[in-house]
């Protein structure tokens, strides 16, 4: 009896000693978030970009422009800060929604446009790459229309990107659009129906307009 217990205890000890510790700590659902995907395809990101920019253009941009030209008013404590006091910066609206610059630069904005560009450039789909460049010019161009000088050239290189002079920035966007026209004329399957506006047709999209 005593002997058997000794044997059992020693075996347990060995078992514990040899159990792989690393996989116990870094295995499935441990190191990476099991609730959310850790990778996204060009199509998934591209749909989110369009979705995000629809919300931005039809929400913030439309409402602010309407208030600034005094065609719309603020009421019941809502939008008073922006409309009444013209407070409008990178953190305005953070309380009411995700924040205005988050729509421009972050999720569904420039951050995801850049990832679409990287993915389509890697796969050689120049048509889709061209469309993505147009979205980038549209998004940043709209931001510059509203705020004037906005960050652009240092967006990926600095933790506190500097504001670009508006005219320098527009020139850069013009170059980007010229590149996009070239891209649209080269090869690539394009986004197809994932292009929620033109079904990925480069001709409709922008080339001749």
């Amino acid at each position: 009896m005593q002997r058997k217990i000794h044997v059992a205890l020693v075996s347990i000890g060995l078992l514990l000693g040899t159990a792989g510790c690393t996989s116990f700590l870094t295995g499935d659902k441990l190191s990476s978030d099991p609730n959310l995907p850790s990778a996204a395809t060009a199509q998934q990101l591209f749909v989110a970009v369009q979705s995000g920019q629809f919300a931005f253009q039809e929400g913030t941009v439309a409402m602010m422009m309407c208030e600034w030209v005094q065609a719309c008013g603020a009421a019941n404590g809502r939008f008073v800060q922006q409309a009444g006091q013209y407070v409008f910066d990178e953190t305005s609206n953070i309380g009411a929604n995700a924040g205005d610059w988050l729509s421009v630069y972050d999720a569904g904005g420039l951050a995801d446009i850049r990832q679409v560009k990287a993915a389509t450039a890697a796969s050689g789909d120049r048509v889709w790459l061209g469309i993505a460049k147009i979205w980038e010019a549209f998004t940043i161009g709209s931001a510059s229309d509203m705020w004037g000088d906005v960050p652009y050239s240092e967006v990926t290189t600095s933790a506190t990107p500097a504001l670009d002079n508006r005219f320098t920035l527009l020139a850069a966007l013009q170059t980007l659009l010229s590149d996009a026209i070239t891209d649209l004329g080269s090869t690539g399957a394009g986004p197809g129906t994932a292009d929620l506006i033109f079904n990925g047709d480069p001709d409709q999209c922008c080339r001749d307009q």
């Binding site: 870094t26 190191s31 998934q44 995000g52 913030t60 610059w101 933790a159 990107p161």
Partner: protein, 1122 residues
């Protein structure tokens, strides 16, 4: 061998022949006697045992005991009989085991300092009380049962210095938050780790509102924000307090380092009751309590519904059946002619009651012990109606069996079934307080259902077609009777364990524990409720918590010679925690009932959150005793956690302490019977939240939008979309590290007639994790980083005096006092020189995640200070603030009016009113200045009277309820009001600021000394802090003195009790809980916290906004012991 008849008969024959010889040897020995204290009082519950034989018994309440030694083990030998009981010095005696009866009486000397008693110190280690290098705080089962609390966390209130417990509200099952020595983590829980019989258990609190992010701003990272919805309980409340034998509190890293990365906030070590060798012991316990609210909200009853002295048109077809009409919202008009007044401050409440019935059976023999208990505690809350209760049924079994002399196996299994219905409250238009306290005095809240739909003061004539129309605020009775907020918990936890001692100096312990709970939640909001659920809404969800823990330790005891010895412990712990939260919201009920997701028109994307955390740890501890008076302890733990991130898997946590019993060196003095000096240092951690090092994409994050619900999801047109998460993955995260130094002394005076303990500590928490804001143009909003440094330091003093200790009469008094000072040293960004304690404009800070107010972690301030808004005051507001400097309205600056004025002088504008300081400042520190308690107990024969005062001094609370009720013209203060025809055209009820009890203090400015009317112009336009944003008028003192416990206990153990009733003793107890509160706070209770344990754990306490009241109780209990 075959049993043929012949063989059997010969077997019986030989057995019969051998019988006389066997009988002689099998004569059992009965050892009897009586145990008394040195004061002459009979002592029950004394364990009298022969440890070498594993035999023993408990003494009865009259002190008598009986130990029976089986005849088979009697051979005329001498054995050591030991008598021990907590609080007394154990005593041993040699008895000779010869046939027949042996008598031995024990007289035990009181041992109030509990010297020589074994103290569990965590992770399988033990020590004796006098060798501890840390201050010891333990809570006995006696003190827990005297608290009359069903929630063990609440039962710890005022039991140890700097152990602060705050109950969310008086709702049955409301969470209690426990914190030791201050808040030191921004994202961590700040509550101690709960360990039951060596196994960590869950003590989380989860708000059902977190399943409903669109309406309630539920948290994505952690569980933040519980300002809406219902209260919820904390999971430690699943324990039956009657099963607890003792609680040891490891207050900080200097004691808790042995638990490493989970122990920065301390550890609560709970040991449950076990069976003991001896006769089987039964007890039956029943207690009942009657509860009512301890404070009635002060409301005015002299003014009616309307605005600017114009009564609202409340007739059918009038404008009070349209949501959002201002004239109908408030009570700023005369009462309607002939109106009846309704008492809205009382109509929601009744005398609640609770009934707690339990049975315990325990016992055992020399090899096997068992403890079995069953209990049901049912509390019917003080809010009327059937939907306010908390019912907990628990079953517990604990057993052990000594298989062979060297091996003991044990098992410990608990089951809890908790069912509760809660009430909507808080910052919530469907909450009962908001609707009730705002109801005009002349509106009868009955009937609340008309045509099956809601009738409320802002919607007085519902017709059958008004189902989907907003009532703006719910009629509280509608919420109480028609909505349904449930939690159903099934929980199993326990462990199997083995204790193996192969050789005399080595002991191995193994514990494998598990804790599994599911909590099913339902919130049903009926059709025709106030927005956001006018069409009805159902939230269904389930929370699953599953924890497995493996702990193995080996302890070797060594002795170099008679002067040097000690122990070495080495152990390993593996821990796995799995949390799953799955729930969704159904919007728009199809039929009015049932509240099921399948009966809703549309459903939100489900919340499906899963978290898995694994730890693998090694630890070792060694103690070294020198000359029996110097006791050294050193320990180290190496923790690996999956939350640290791949590149940084392991972390070290050391600890060391020394205790010197100097009275052994200098000898006992006439006045000093015991003296110990101690120092300890330790480090412990707080784990990062999981997955902060993982970069993810989201398919459900809402993009853009100008207000809630107007943005887009990433998926469009049936094509799945994914957007980058706004939270940037941290490249590396370490555990937060708290380093604590503690020093103190424990003293016994006048032959232990009195004892005192004093402790100073300083705990510096570095690498505290916060979500650092990033410039949005970088592509992300925030990123977790080890950035903040927080310090907590303070003093803890306790003094116990036992002036009278006689057989028939005893009296003791205990005092405790503690203070903790919290200070933020860094939030990871440089501190400009312009940041000072008086001008915080440039001080770096982080808002506390999910806080209801702008409570912050700001450099130079205590944790949770509120960065809010106050009035312009000299020396407080910037001297450059522009103000009117004369009655003509010429402008200057504060410097112009503050010359020669004392700091804090209130600026009064030309209109005679104070004005807002637009420079945000720290307006409130919610932390108590000091806390203390006074306990006393008087015993006369079998009667014991005991009391406990809980004292908390300083600290502030934001009384938002009061500010809102000022605005609505409902607070009792508005009984005195000026007659206002517009926002500013008022007459009557004049006051002068700074005089006659109206904002007393020095004033300056062009309007100083001017008498101004006080009415709507003040209460609605300036003082209504939740709506106007000037917090100063709403900040009140949170200090209080509360008579926590009063009890009167009588033990019937006369012989007739046994003869007539068959019980050894009967305990009868009459007690009261929270009987009286002394406070300057004008709301329900200063011990109130809107966000409960969730918000308090994040450091944002001190907020009251339409939270439910606290209760007081009278308790009657009877325990029958057999």
């Amino acid at each position: 061998m075959q049993f043929t008849p012949r063989r059997i008969s010969s077997f019986i024959l030989s057995a019969l022949l051998a019988l006389p010889a066997l009988l002689a040897a099998q004569e059992p020995v009965t050892i009897t006697g009586k145990v008394t204290s040195d004061a002459g009082q009979p002592l029950g519950q004394v364990e009298v045992a022969i440890p070498t034989m594993g035999l023993g018994a408990l003494s009865k309440d009259d002190g008598s005991y009986v130990v029976v030694v089986p005849g088979a083990r009697v051979s005329g030998q001498t054995a050591t009989l030991v008598a021990r009981r907590l609080g007394y010095k154990s005593q041993s005696a040699q008895v000779t085991l010869t046939t027949g009866a042996v008598t031995h009486d024990f007289v035990l000397a009181a041992n109030p300092l509990q010297l020589g008693e074994v103290v569990v110190t965590g992770a399988g280690t033990t020590n004796t009380a006098e060798k501890l290098g840390n201050v010891r705080n333990s809570v006995s089962s006696d003190l827990i049962s005297r608290a009359n609390e069903s929630n063990v966390t609440q039962a710890l209130a005022a039991k140890a210095p700097n152990v602060t417990v705050v109950q969310q509200s008086g709702d049955p099952g409301a969470s209690s938050f426990i914190n030791i020595r201050g808040i030191s983590s921004i994202l961590g829980s700040n509550q101690p780790l709960f360990v039951v019989d060596g196994v960590p258990v869950d003590n989380s609190t989860f708000s059902t509102s977190n399943f409903n992010a669109p309406d309630d701003g539920g948290g994505q990272i952690g569980q933040f924000g519980q300002s809406e919805g219902t209260v919820q309980t904390n999971r430690a409340a699943d324990l039956n307090p009657n099963d607890i034998e003792s609680v040891e509190i490891l207050k900080g890293p200097s004691a808790s380092a042995i638990y490493g990365a989970r122990a920065a906030a301390g550890v609560i070590l709970i040991t449950t009751k076990s069976g003991r060798a001896g006769p089987t012991h039964f007890s039956v316990r029943s207690s009942t309590s009657f509860d009512d609210i301890n404070h009635v909200y002060p409301l005015q009853t002299g003014f009616g519904q309307g605005l600017f002295f114009v009564h609202a048109d409340t007739t059918l077809g009038g404008n009070c059946d349209n949501p959002g009409v201002a004239v109908c919202a408030r009570s700023w008009a005369p009462l309607a002619a002939g109106a009846t007044i309704y008492d809205h401050s009382n109509e929601l409440y009744r005398v609640g009651n609770s009934l707690d019935n339990g049975v315990t059976i325990s016992g055992g023999n020399d090899r096997t012990t068992f403890y079995l208990s069953g209990d049901n505690a049912y509390t019917r809350g003080v809010i009327v109606g059937p939907n306010n209760y908390y019912s907990r049924s628990t079953v517990r079994f604990k057993g052990s069996h000594r298989v062979v002399e060297t091996l003991k196996l044990g098992a410990d299994l608990s089951f809890a079934d908790v069912r509760a219905k809660y009430t909507q409250r808080g910052n919530n238009t469907n909450g009962i307080q908001l609707g009730d306290l705002r109801t005009p005095p002349e509106f009868n809240n009955y009937p609340f259902v008309v045509n099956g739909l809601q009738r409320a003061f802002r919607f007085q004539h519902p017709d059958a077609a008004s189902g989907g129309l907003d009532r703006t605020f719910d009629n509280p009775l509608w919420t109480i009777f028609q909505s349904d907020n449930e939690s159903k918990v099934g929980r199993v936890y326990g462990n199997v364990n083995a204790e193996y001692a192969p050789i005399s100096w080595l002991k191995l312990n193994y514990t494998l524990g598990a804790d599994y709970a599911t909590d099913e939640r339902l919130e049903g909001c009926p059709i025709s409720s106030a927005s956001p659920c006018t069409d009805g809404r159902v939230i269904e969800g389930k929370i699953v918590n599953y924890q497995i823990n493996h702990n193995v330790t080996g302890t070797a005891t060594y002795s170099l010679n008679s002067n040097f010895g000690g122990t070495v412990t080495v152990g390993q712990e593996l821990n796995s925690r799995n949390v799953r939260q799955l729930g969704t919201v159904g919007r728009g009920l199809v039929a009015p009932a049932p509240f099921k997701l399948s009966n809703t028109v549309a459903q939100d994307l489900p919340i499906d959150a899963e978290q898995v955390v694994h730890n693998a740890s090694w630890f070792g501890q060694t103690t070294f005793d020198v000359y029996g008076q110097l006791f050294l302890t050193a320990a180290v733990r190496n923790d690996a956690s999956s939350t640290f991130g791949r590149d940084n898997l392991r972390s070290w946590f050391p600890k060391g302490s020394a205790a010197w019993e100097f009275t052994k060196a200098i000898g006992e003095q006439s006045w000093l019977s015991y003296g110990k000096a101690r120092v300890a240092y330790g480090e412990a951690g707080t784990e990062p939240l999981p997955y902060l090092t993982s970069q993810t994409y989201s398919g459900s994050q809402i993009l853009g939008g100008i207000s809630q619900g107007t943005g887009n999801t990433p998926s469009q047109n049936g094509i799945g979309g994914l957007a980058s998460n706004l939270l940037k993955a941290a490249s590396v995260l370490k555990p937060e590290r708290s380093k604590e130094f503690e020093a103190g002394a424990d003293l016994g005076f006048f032959r232990d007639r009195a004892d005192a303990s004093i402790t100073w500590y300083s705990k510096k928490s570095t690498d505290a994790i916060l979500l650092q804001p990033l410039s949005p143009s970088t592509g992300f909003l925030q990123q977790a980083a080890n950035a903040a440094t927080i310090r907590n330091r303070g003093w803890e003093v306790s003094l116990n005096v036992r002036p009278v200790q006689q057989a028939d009469f005893g009296w003791d008094v205990g005092l405790q006092w503690a203070r903790n000072r919290s200070l933020i040293l860094s939030v990871g960004t440089p501190v400009p020189a312009s940041c000072t304690t008086s001008d915080v404009t440039d001080c770096p800070f982080i808002p506390i995640p999910g806080a209801f107010l702008n409570q912050v972690v700001m450099v130079g301030q205590p944790f949770g200070a509120y960065l809010g808004s106050g009035f312009l005051r000299c020396g407080v507001s910037p001297s450059s603030s522009p103000v009117a400097i004369d009655s003509a309205g010429n402008t200057g600056t504060m410097a112009d009016v503050c010359g020669g004025k004392a700091s804090g002088t209130l600026y009064i504008g030309p209109n005679g009113m104070p004005a807002q300081d637009h420079n945000p400042r720290i307006v409130m520190d919610p932390n108590y200045n000091w806390t203390g308690s006074v306990r006393t107990s008087v015993r006369y024969r079998k009667l014991r009277v005991a009391g406990l005062l809980d004292v908390r001094h300083g600290g502030k609370i934001w009384n938002g309820t009061m500010g809102a009720l000022w605005s609505y013209g409902k607070h009792a203060d508005t009984d005195q009001r000026a007659f206002c025809l517009t926002n500013s055209a008022c007459a009557g009820n004049t006051k002068v600021f700074g005089q006659n009890g109206w904002y007393d203090g020095p004033v300056t400015g062009p309007g100083a000394g001017k008498a101004v009317p006080i009415g709507y112009n003040w209460y609605n336009q300036i003082a209504a802090c939740p709506f106007i944003g000037i917090d100063e008028p709403c900040i009140q003192d949170a200090g209080f003195v509360k008579l926590r416990e009063v009890s009167l206990n009588y033990t019937l153990d006369a012989p007739w009790v046994q003869r007539a009733l068959g019980f050894a003793s009967i305990d009868v107890r009459v007690a009261a809980r929270n009987l009286k509160t002394w406070t300057n706070y004008t709301g329900y209770d200063p011990e109130s916290n809107l966000g409960g344990a969730i918000d308090a754990a994040a450091g944002s306490s001190g907020v009251d906004y339409f939270n439910n009241p606290q209760t007081r109780s009278f308790v009657f209990a009877i325990t029958l012991n057999h």
